[in-house]
Symmetry: C2
Subunit: 455 residues, 2 copies
Amino acid sequence: MSDRTPSRTGHLLVSGCDVLRVPPRGECEILRAQDIVVADGVIEDVRPTGGPFGAGFAADVIDGRGLLAVPGLVNAHTHSPMVLMRGAAEDVTVEGWFNDRVWPMESNLTPADVRIGARLACAEMIRSGVTTFADHYFFPGQIAEAVTETGLRADIAPTYFSSRGTEALEDTVRFAEAWHGGADGRVTVSLGPHAPYTVDDGDLRTLAGHARRLGLRMHIHAAEHLEQTRSSLDRRGITPIRVLHETGVLEAGALIAHGCGIVEDDLPLLAEYAGTTAVACCPKVYLKHALSPLTPVRDLLGAGVTVAVGTDGAAGHNTLDVWEALRLVALTQKQAVRDATWMTVSDTLRLAVRGGARALGLQNEIGALEPGMRADIVLTDLSGTHCRPLHDPRAALVYSARASDVRTVVVDGRILMRDGRLLTVDEPALLAEADARVARILDTSHGRAVQHYDP
Amino acid sequence: MSDRTPSRTGHLLVSGCDVLRVPPRGECEILRAQDIVVADGVIEDVRPTGGPFGAGFAADVIDGRGLLAVPGLVNAHTHSPMVLMRGAAEDVTVEGWFNDRVWPMESNLTPADVRIGARLACAEMIRSGVTTFADHYFFPGQIAEAVTETGLRADIAPTYFSSRGTEALEDTVRFAEAWHGGADGRVTVSLGPHAPYTVDDGDLRTLAGHARRLGLRMHIHAAEHLEQTRSSLDRRGITPIRVLHETGVLEAGALIAHGCGIVEDDLPLLAEYAGTTAVACCPKVYLKHALSPLTPVRDLLGAGVTVAVGTDGAAGHNTLDVWEALRLVALTQKQAVRDATWMTVSDTLRLAVRGGARALGLQNEIGALEPGMRADIVLTDLSGTHCRPLHDPRAALVYSARASDVRTVVVDGRILMRDGRLLTVDEPALLAEADARVARILDTSHGRAVQHYDP
């Protein structure tokens, strides 16, 4: 796999850890006492610990004994800089959340704010074992710089509203041309029309055309909840998913955020594009916004559509904690279909890693700890009292573990956190910079907003 | 308040912390930079830091600067020793959970197992800031000993099935007589008939009579989900709640676990006993068991009934983490009534502390950090990246914080955990003892069970 030439990352050996094997289907397994051998950012081997190494083998060694290595989690839908507004929009309706709180606050954001917010989000995600995220936000170049510096992997979609005009649309395309494949391949770009209710069909078509031309995917909010679907049917006679079809968005390959309003009629349409369509499910925000029904995960999987796990932005989700999100996917999906035997521990873990990888078009690079995959490795410590006795580490990951059980995080073969210490972020300085921005960001007395919510 | 005589606990000063004030109604508040003065296990004063102390004042001082003091959380319904079965009954139906997994495993439990399980549970709860729990289990004396040793506060209900016979019933009464008010007042006892579907009306009447005679409350599972209510209506023409009324259980004062099957007709009946009735809501297990509807919290509060937050046993909930449970109460209740503005941050925090206190009949002793209350104090550290910027510490407690953000825990004026170190539990020895019991507890090849589930 590796050409063994010296490289930025060189060799890394995670020795003696247990490994979570997440197969494409069926039960996940725990491989006991393994060595994970990494060369040039790629997993070269996963094998029982203690095996021989060739002459001259030299590696940075992480002692993984007592730890469980899991594939890095994928946060399949977020707005990372919104950590700046965490906890500042509570106990409000969806309309109030957008029109009275978040969109007015967002009108205060400067590129420098986004720069700090994205770095803070990266720090939080590294700490919680998220190695890849699908972002959707303004000032995407700032986010790309944050990803470059912190060492994470991200797909970044520059948020576009038709109200911003043609030049803004062209800016998003220019960003894609500049950054797709950037940061040694850790940054990919999707085109990011906000939603069918904020982007007109012409712009959707134009962006879908650019996506096909450039070989990019699309990342878009659609059918976020049933009321939006009903509103679309009332206003124009078709569902938001059909809008995505008619404007070429599905053909380009789409990551759809939320999809709680996907209805039965949409399923055959989505099935046509199943190989390149994914839906990101972010249940905490659906519950918090009192939405029902939730993402129809069983129907989507039945139609062959990829489902992945996301947190949405922290102004709604309050954290970027994918452990929390995947647990809520399991819990809420069992309840939604009234079947406790469904959305099993293994299936939930698979959504969070393989599902997330596929949702970003990265299924051949990440989502499993197997030879040939990029080395995105999270070492978790399940020895805490809240996980003991540890009858089943897989169940512990889904139902007992916390983000704070993550000890060491490797992305692309590079150690970003070691034994709880961040290596690519000056956390105290960053937190101080974030705090200094708070008062200005929260001030909505100006009456401006980035957009008005009226789907 | 305090007589200042020397005592086991003496004076304790928590200096310079912020304090969460949880009023009986209205918004919670953050009091900045306070001293909490504790004497003989009681909060003597909460006042701005730096005030004068009388001559000769000497105290153990906890530096609370940078930390937020919250009232100790109350876990209003659990089966603490079931931590031994954590993660050993996943992805099964309710019937399968009881009949194939948990009740067969429970038939393996010895008093020594329960002793270890209860201690492990206490360790987990101390670590997560739970200072009081309402327990319901077999071998209650072992649990009482664990509470005594670890320093927690608990109301313990000895689980009783009619299938166990008269002598077992009398044992539970003898336990109550021996332990109510024990451990320097930290142990109270409730009588614990398991449920109306496992305890016959005669036994319910007998136990309710004992409860009235001894001044005890009752702790019982009832109307756990709607199917149980329907089954009760089919089999005997009345709801489980009406059974509690007719057998004198409500008159004695009842803590009802779950109550997801409480129907509209039950509300006037519950309202009659509102002053002494409480329902413990444990949403994680309802979701995991694919139940719907959930505890009708809005209706219950509307009827004047106390609602509290619980985890149920860890064989279903996987943790004894009341932070997780209270967050899920907020999220699921918003969704259940389709109102995002309801079950606010302040109301949720109130349920978890004042609601819990009242559910155990301890509303005059715990549930708030106010002069005259027992000193059950939890110091939380909200400085972590996942809570920043900290726009609103109350929102952070409900939606961002984790059990691992708890730093120091005081119960009855005694420090049980200091800066993350448990002072009353030898955790490594305890974990090793628990691990040694696992294989035997999980073996269900014998075909025995403590009971058969057929409500």
